[in-house]
Amino acid sequence: MIGYDLVIEEIPEKTKVLDLGCGDGVLLEMLQESKKVKGYGVEISEEGVSLCMEKGLYCYQADIDEGLTDYRKNSFDYVILNQTIQNTKRPDYVIKEVLRIGKKVIISFPNFGYFQTRLHLLCRGTMPVNDLLPYQWYDSPNIHLLTIKDMKIMAKEFNFKILKEWHFNLGQDKKSKITRVNPNLFAQYGFFVICQ
């Protein structure tokens, strides 16, 4: 449910949306109910696809590292990469592709620059394990961790525009609280809206 409220706030009504790594389809279902979007999902697991179909969503099983090239340019108003980009094998390729197939892209990820994460590495000298990154290094699906600053550098190098930054912390109530002051240090999660 991380950042769902922000994604829903960002996406206008009746748009065409592709959710990459849509999991059980809860976000897409919420978007369909509250924003009447035309929603599509891509999910790597059999269980995820089955759960999406149970909700009446259109979803297909694929690895997003492979399955995006065939979409035509600007096929979607929004492409969502919510807590997904750090799991991909080729984030550079995925980001290029989503910028091509989506008019706008929402990209949100755990910020490795968050001070508690930094402190963990500095003080303990081991890979950080916390609420944001709840895995040991050897079983973590997060194979391409990044910071908010990394994404900004990438925007310059890959020549894409940042339209919005809503970096946030998760409150006790699981609601997102936007962090304005030095987000690369104080925000648990990065949240960007980008476009080509």
Partner: protein, 388 residues
């Protein structure tokens, strides 16, 4: 042994027949040849509702028939070929939907095929039977659907060659197909698949009793059963075969082994071969495997598969099985990709199983659940008349 799904059944069913295309109004085949009169054997389960929007057409595979569910007699040993999925409360829920299944033209289970009598000669067609294609099979079914008074099918569904027909339906009659379920299938069979079909045909051709297709009651049993044995190898995965039979011997102790003693897997294949001859016609096997070989949606649409679906109006559910090497997952992924490119609504799932190509026939909760959920959403959408 009763499967988990066999308790709920459509009960005793009867095959019906529909004849059309009486000369001079024969049906024109893809080859340009004319065929008529044509009889289609079909069965129906459940009730057509007053809106006539709950009809589902089931398509059978190479060796299937119109008998998809229930039993013809209370003491029938086996139910219809897709009984695990068709019945009250099952995936194709006959409490909600009106399910139709017909035997393909070229078949030998009641529909017009090479074993039927040619009205012009008074003898069986044999090889005078015209070449029929998947498209022709679908065109024939169109007449049946019309006859049943159905303007639009809630779904067309099938596995293997049945999946090819389902895809063809959505392309040939876009306005008549609300949704399409294509399982363990392909837009065009692989060279490997064609190769196995050819070996099977050669087994039939090389049986002296085949006699250029002109056999009477002395059917080419050896050839046809060998063809079926080859087929059966391709339906199972290596792992499934190993788990089912291992290296077990039928009986013999080590000392008494000779060139005639059998591994269990051999007697299984022999049994399948012999059983098949009782219910299937060798010439039908030749014609239908040819129809499968020639099916190529991509070629039909200028070499770009996505173009085939441009006019289709259906929503799709595509399913493959991880250990199916006859219709491998990649052929389903190719279909899914083409559907996506042409902007169609598509669900796709690659089901993890050891059962190989056979998986589409065997009872499995995951297959049942996904078909059932898909149909439920598609049926609900009809009411709301909503785009996704």
């Amino acid at each position: 042994m009763k499967t988990f799904n066999e308790i709920k059944t459509v009960g005793i069913v009867k095959t019906k027949f529909f004849t059309f295309a009486d000369p001079p109004e024969e049906m024109i085949l893809e080859s340009g040849e004319r065929l008529g009169p044509i009889t289609l054997a079909y069965e129906t389960y459940g009730t057509l509702n007053s809106e006539k929007n709950n009809a589902i057409l089931i398509e059978h595979a190479l060796s299937g028939s119109a008998h998809a569910a229930g039993r013809h007699h209370p003491d029938d040993k086996y139910p219809g070929w897709w009984d695990a999925y068709i019945g009250p409360g099952k995936a194709f829920d006959t409490d909600k939907y009106f399910v139709i299944c017909s035997n393909v033209i070229g078949g030998c289970s009641g529909s017009t095929g090479p074993a039927s009598i040619n009205p012009f000669t008074g003898r069986t067609y044999a090889l005078d039977f015209p070449m029929v294609t998947i498209k022709d099979m679908v065109n024939a079914q169109f007449h049946l659907v019309n006859h049943l008074g159905i303007k639009k099918l809630l779904a067309v569904a099938g596995g293997s060659m049945g999946g090819m027909q389902a895809l063809q339906w959505s392309v040939s009659y876009p306005h008549m197909v609300n949704s399409c379920i294509a399982i363990a299938t392909s837009a065009h069979l692989s060279a490997q698949g064609i190769a196995f079909n050819e070996v099977a045909r050669q087994a039939i051709f090389n049986d002296p009793r085949w006699n250029g297709g002109n056999y009477g009651r002395e059917v080419p049993a050896e050839g046809l059963s060998l063809a079926r044995m080859i087929g059966h190898i391709t339906y199972l995965s290596e792992k499934h075969m190993h788990e089912k039979f291992g290296r077990n011997f039928q009986e013999a102790s080590k000392a008494s082994r000779n060139i005639n003693s059998e591994f269990t897997v051999e007697s299984y294949l022999h049994y399948q071969g012999i059983k098949f001859v009782e219910r299937f016609d060798a010439n039908s096997y030749v014609y239908i495997t040819r129809a499968i070989d020639y099916f190529d949606l991509q070629e039909d649409y200028g070499g770009t598969l996505a173009n085939a679906f441009d006019n289709a109006e259906a929503n799709y559910l595509v399913i493959s099985f991880t250990t199916d090497w006859l219709y491998p997952s990649d052929s389903s992924k190719e279909i899914v990709k083409a559907l996506r490119v042409s902007g169609k609504n598509v669900n796709y799932i690659d089901i993890v199983t050891d059962n190989g190509h056979d998986a589409f026939l065997l009872p499995a909760e995951i297959l049942e659940k996904n078909i059932s959920n898909f149909l439920k959403s598609e049926f609900a959408r009809l009411g709301k008349n909503e785009e996704v």
